[in-house]
């Protein structure tokens, strides 16, 4: 056993797949930042709002006013440097830090795929992604043919976890036996050419989509791993992600996943891509092959420094990744209802949830009260997200309490009257309206002021 592990860790493989992965990852990230900027979302999501919903423990991370643009610029440039493999280590660390900072600024914009990017860029800090086909090679006059095999496997493992856990999360009665929330979402796509008015409206089609989505997520990592099924799996990946892109506003994510799954292919496939890219660069005369190729010393194997630190770190990292999504088990109530342990767990597209939350500011002494107009403090997007997530509701209640106390109101208490509808059930009261939220503290403990869910969702 001991021998097996050390044999595995000493196994080497071509450096090409990781190099290609680095190039595509960098380009995709750079495009994502450009798209975000171009859509004016920096202003809309980070500069315009008066108030930002923070992550517990990261309250000090806030948008930087107009300098938020600088932050995005740094992130985009770092991504470009990653693609080029230029000052790779510094570039990927910069990317990881700036991207993570951006994500932590306001949890209104939380998306699983942003979390995925954060994790991926974190492990890429420790991987020799610039060992081959990089600008660093040219400056250092060194290029490597092979790298430790486990470095590539770690990316495959992360991708595998994302898919497989997303599949596990679909093993619940709403998804499988009610075809929820697809039953709400698909019929509203009646505009789609050819299939909008017929297929999208069919009950059986909602079930087919639910079940095949579940099977896809659970099977795809394994289908990609085996050589015989790999091409078929890749076609599935493309079809699945393009289809979801057509149906839902999910931005760059499908393309990032399509490109990422290329890592499962053989070295020869990636060497072909590199050859193609080199030809492209030559055609653009950005590269003088005679000059550079001759000057590079080709080494067979890349030796990873501080391997004795990195390997334990990766073991720890992946152990956490495997356990963390199950943390919801320590909370007593229905996960979809309370969302305690919902984020950072690859639970994607599982809920159609909407809410309304009306805040009441009460003077504890006189009992006099008034209601708050949420639009005075929140953007419509923030209000939407706030209205069905307890940690948002609590943080906003504190913000309101502080605000009105500062305005001179005395003995401020903050109550909320809220209703939430989940996956097509009639809306029901959500937060206990007799609990003064201004007196409640955020913590990882179960929130006793969330009213119980009046139904049962079975499954994981």
């Amino acid at each position: 056993m001991r021998l097996n592990i050390s044999t595995y860790l000493n196994k080497t493989t071509s450096a090409a797949p990781l190099a290609v992965f680095r190039v595509f990852f960098g380009i995709m990230m750079c495009l994502s930042i450009v798209r975000f900027w171009y859509n004016d979302w920096i202003d809309l999501l980070y500069i315009q709002p008066k108030f930002h919903f923070t992550y517990f423990g990261f309250e000090f991370i806030k948008p930087l006013g107009v300098y938020t643009y600088v932050l995005f610029a740094i992130c985009g440039i770092a991504a470009l440097f990653v693609a080029l493999g230029f000052k790779y280590r510094i570039a990927i660390i910069t990317f990881f830090l700036s991207f993570t900072y951006i994500e932590l600024m306001d949890k209104t914009t939380y998306l699983n795929h942003y979390y995925f990017i954060t994790l991926l860029s974190f492990i890429m800090i420790f991987l020799p992604a610039n060992a081959h086909f990089s600008v660093d090679n040219i400056f250092r006059r060194k290029t490597y043919q092979s790298i430790p095999n486990w470095t590539i496997d770690s990316i495959k493992l992360l991708l595998g976890i994302v898919y497989f856990y997303a599949g596990l999360a679909k093993l619940n009665s709403d998804w499988l036996f009610k075809a929820m929330p697809l039953k709400i979402w698909l019929p509203s796509k009646y505009d789609l050419p050819f299939i909008g008015e017929n297929l999208m409206q069919q009950n059986w089609f909602h079930f087919v989509m639910s079940w095949s989505g579940m099977l896809y997520d659970l099977c795809i990592p394994f289908l990609l791993l085996y050589k015989k099924t790999r091409w078929f799996a890749f076609i599935l990946v493309v079809v699945f992600h393009v289809f979801t892109r057509v149906l839902f506003p999910i931005g760059m994510f499908p393309f990032i996943m399509i490109v990422s799954t290329l890592i499962f292919f053989d070295a020869s496939f990636h060497q072909n891509i590199i050859r193609l890219l080199k030809r492209l660069l030559n055609a653009l005369s950005l590269r003088k092959p005679s000059l550079q190729a001759s000057k590079l010393n080709v080494y067979s194997q890349f030796q990873l420094k501080s391997k004795s630190l990195i390997i334990p770190l990766f073991v720890l990292f992946f152990s956490i990744q495997l356990v963390f999504p199950f943390r919801y088990l320590v909370y007593p109530n229905e996960l979809f209802w309370t969302e305690e342990g919902y984020r950072f767990s690859w639970r994607v597209m599982l809920m159609e949830k909407m809410g309304i939350a009306t805040f009441k500011i009460v003077d504890a002494d006189t009992g006099r009260f008034f209601y708050v107009n949420n639009k005075d403090f929140l953007t419509p997007f923030q209000e939407k997200q706030m209205s069905f997530q307890p940690d948002f509701i609590l943080e906003y209640a504190h913000y309101l309490g502080d605000h009105f106390t500062e305005q001179g109101h005395k003995n401020v208490q903050v109550f909320v009257e809220s209703y939430v509808a989940l996956n097509g059930r009639l809306s029901a009261p959500y937060i206990n309206k007799t609990v003064d939220l201004y007196a409640e503290k955020e913590s990882f403990k179960p929130k006793h002021w969330i009213l119980p869910f009046k139904d049962d969702i079975k499954g994981l």
Binding site: L215, E352, M354, Y371, N373, F381, Y419, A421
Partner: protein
């Protein structure tokens, strides 16, 4: 081996697909989505919106005639006639205010027709200056039904004193301008509906932020939340302020009709929900039938139950909301709470069921 696994997976998918369709879909054959969103919009346009505008236009024509008579001879009889036709028109207005789409939206029609409380300072300033630009944003609180309310009931303490005021030609001129403006605005909106906009409206059924279906749903809900729940009940009842603000009731100077107007508005809202024709009992395609199509009769029933419950609460109130707020504001806030439950059903449940694209920031989802 792997091929076999594949085959198994695919077969399984098929079996699951077929078995689930046979168990939960009762219809024997594949039936296309048979809810006709075009028919819904057509019913709204032809049987609800346009007839309501036509009626309002007629009522405003009467109002204009009575106003002309009053200006020609400012006596008590003419004042009474004018007041009566003002109320008739104001009641019909309650059937129109929620249709803030097309020309109405472009002209900010409802802002020029029913912003209250009226600013008496602005009105008096306009009267003494003469020739005010009534369409100007700053005059939104000095025009429309609330301004006429002030002109007919509030310019002086008694009817005799009011009639005396109209010895001043400037008062006559302003009253005349107000009514003429209301009539001409309404004509513009109505003509747009009957000439070109109807066709645009009924054909724009897509699920995009700018389609008439989505805009109508959003406007309809916004109207209920803002104009009906908040303006008529919440604000005067003081739910958004530390103290009640009774002088902010609708038709404050008349004092007797705020309940009448509120009940009209509630009825109009419910009729639109159920597709009931304007001033008739026939019904057509509506949000209610759309919900039925989506197998959400539980929701359409609940919506009607909650509206009926709210109406019951409103019926307990004094005709005069001003005195209701002053004497027993709890009843007022109870009516507000009942209306709030309707808002919950509209904003949370109905929006979720229709899954319409709302005008939130167009950011990515998961």
């Amino acid at each position: 081996m792997i091929k076999k696994i594949f085959l198994a997976v695919i077969t399984l998918t098929f079996i699951v697909a077929c078995s689930s369709s046979s168990s939960s879909d009762d219809s024997p054959s594949v039936s296309p989505d048979n809810f006709d969103r075009g028919a819904l919009l057509t019913n709204l346009a032809d049987n609800i919106i346009i007839p309501a505008y036509q009626d309002l236009s007629e009522k405003l024509t009467t109002l204009t005639a009575d106003k002309d008579a009053f200006i020609a001879d400012a006596n008590q009889t003419n004042l009474d006639n004018l007041r009566a036709s003002w109320l008739e028109a104001y009641k019909v207005w309650q059937h129109v205010e929620m249709f803030n789409i097309g020309k109405a939206e472009e002209l900010t029609y409802s802002f020029q027709m029913n912003i209250y409380p009226v600013s008496t300072t602005d009105v008096e300033a306009n009267i003494s200056a003469g020739n005010a630009d009534l369409t100007h944003v700053n005059n939104n609180d000095a025009v429309g039904f609330p301004a006429v309310d002030y002109m007919l009931y509030g310019v002086a303490d008694s009817d005799a004193a009011i009639l005396t005021k109209y010895e001043d030609d400037k008062y006559k001129a302003y009253l005349s301008d107000l009514v003429n403006q209301m009539e001409s605005l309404t004509e513009t909106v109505l003509t747009d509906w009957t000439s070109s906009y109807r066709a645009t409206f009924v054909s724009s059924t897509s699920n995009t932020v700018t389609s008439s279906l989505n805009k109508f749903v959003n406007d309809y809900i916004f109207y209920f939340e803002k104009s009906l729940r908040a303006n008529k009940f919440g604000i005067p009842g003081g739910v958004f302020s530390t103290d009640p603000l009774p002088e902010k009731v609708e038709a404050f100077y008349n004092q007797e009709v705020s309940k009448t107007l509120a009940l009209e508005a509630l009825a109009a809202f419910q009729n639109t929900l159920n597709g009931t024709y304007y001033s008739a009992s026939a019904t057509g395609e509506s949000f209610k039938t759309y919900l039925t199509e989506l197998e959400r009769t539980d929701l359409s029933t609940l919506l009607n139950t909650r509206i009926d419950a709210a109406r019951a609460k409103v019926n307990l109130l004094d005709d005069n909301f001003y005195s209701q707020v002053n004497s027993d504001n709890v009843k007022m806030t109870e009516a507000y709470d009942a209306l709030q439950l309707v808002v919950v059903s509209l904003k949370v449940d109905m929006l979720q069921a229709f899954n319409v694209s709302v005008d939130y920031v167009d950011a990515d989802g998961d």
